[in-house]
Symmetry: C2
């Protein structure tokens, strides 16, 4: 998907919501186990997707949750991707995998997510530098979503270390260095909503790139702050919410509850897009 297409979808849907499919077997409503026996994880995903697709432009399956189920999990992941591609072809699909390894290995990961499966993007960790990231950039229309400033407490361990030469923090150096590995049409960045006040500085370094912003909802970040400091002229934001949407209820009403929560966020987003004159 191109940046223009993504922006068109955002305007059409009046939303820049990404729904995180962190499907946890311990959090799925219990009635699902009886009703769908062996296939309750896939069924949960399917119903969440059908309920929320109207209100979002992207889905982000978190690989850890599928891998932890072994073969079954991998199978559910593949079928979930196929289901979205078939029924909602305009969705932007992010494999939240946090990969990154030496060149020949990263090339294998790229083959997994862009070849074997049809994701639009994969999250990549920057620690190993350019040759761990560039193999993901060789696929036309596919994107790297690089970790810059994460939403967790551990972000403070290394990401704010100051460069003796330039005074930049590590996450700023990651932005400045990596933006030359690709461009705003194939690189987006993870910036946590819990650190929204740093978004203005980040926008000075990467004015045009899309940002994938986790941390709204369960992690406590504010959508208003994210928009205020992070939105650019083509929106430039995909704001993710996982647990607050997909586990909004734990009974037969889970899909409706997910739709209601997603709609609530979408309506807020429509307000921000209108205020910015984009719709």
């Amino acid at each position: 998907m191109t940046r223009e297409e993504l922006f068109e979808n955002i305007k059409k849907k009046q939303s820049f919501l990404c729904v995180g499919l962190d499907t946890d077997v311990n959090k799925i409503p219990e009635f699902m186990f009886d009703k769908y026996e062996g296939d309750y994880i896939y069924e949960f995903n399917k119903q969440i997707i059908d309920a929320t697709a109207k209100y979002c432009v992207a889905y982000k399956p978190n690989l850890a949750f599928y891998e932890s189920l072994g073969l079954q999990g991998w199978d559910v992941l593949e079928r979930t991707v196929d289901y979205i591609r078939t029924n909602y072809p305009d969705m932007f699909l992010i494999a939240d995998a946090k990969r990154g390894d030496i060149g020949n290995t990263s090339a294998m990961y790229a083959r997994t997510f862009f070849g074997a499966m049809d994701f639009d993007s994969v999250t990549v960790a920057p620690y190993m530098g350019e040759d761990s990231v560039s193999p993901f950039l060789t696929y036309e229309g596919k994107w790297v979503t690089l970790l810059a400033l994460t939403s967790n407490k551990g972000a403070f361990d290394f990401q704010f270390m100051k460069d003796a030469e330039t005074g930049d923090t590590l996450y700023q150096k990651v932005l400045k260095t990596s933006k030359n590995w690709g461009n705003a049409d194939n690189m987006m960045y993870v910036v946590g909503a819990t650190k929204a006040d740093m978004l203005s500085d980040i926008r000075e370094i990467i004015p045009d790139n899309f940002l994938l912003v986790p941390g709204i909802g369960a992690q406590g970040g504010s959508l208003e702050e994210v928009v205020k400091h992070g939105m650019n002229s083509q929106c430039g934001l995909l704001v993710n919410s996982s647990r607050a949407i997909i586990y909004a209820a734990n009974d037969e009403t889970f899909a409706e509850a997910a739709a209601r929560e997603a709609k609530k966020v979408q309506e807020q987003m429509a307000g921000f897009l209108k205020a910015a004159g984009m719709i």
Copy 2:
């Protein structure tokens, strides 16, 4: 496995070799496809393992190579781990996965590699800090292998950035900070053989921890240099070789050729262990 058990195995085998199972469908000898049809990847692994088990103390499957094959790859990985556990129970098994995410997600990855599968350790990237690493440290007898100084060219992009406060490089800060998250009995570090001259400095920071050293063989690092600068009183080294061993030949002799290459490295290692008075 405890650190003492690992050291005992090293002395018994007179080897600190780790064989990397980067099994690439494009590099498997062609005759295997006809002979083993659907199961040639597993058969290749099995024959490589049987041929090299005498000469090594650890195996390191590279997850990327299995994931790129989807369901089939995941199945081969699980069966390879089972095969090693059943037939060579003393092997140290490292999932080379370069994972690392927010706490609840890292906990899921830990469940995958230490619960669903029976690995001894998993490689983890440090960028997201303590809460992305600590969930892996809650399993008794299991290890984190944290990236510190990698063997690739991209290591120079961020790992050598100097801290304005302390003058430490990022990789030194990673070592100094993270060694307090666990201890020498559950944390080891990736340090590339291509940067062996930095091992003396690294040993000042972490005298006791095991190091997993890639970069011997195809990547050009020197075993002698690694031993000279990195060995400690309990060996403290697992030196990995992947391509130079498992693709030593591309015909019917591939297993013998792998054994020959592994034996060559083991004999060198025995010499170093003897010279150090450990055996």
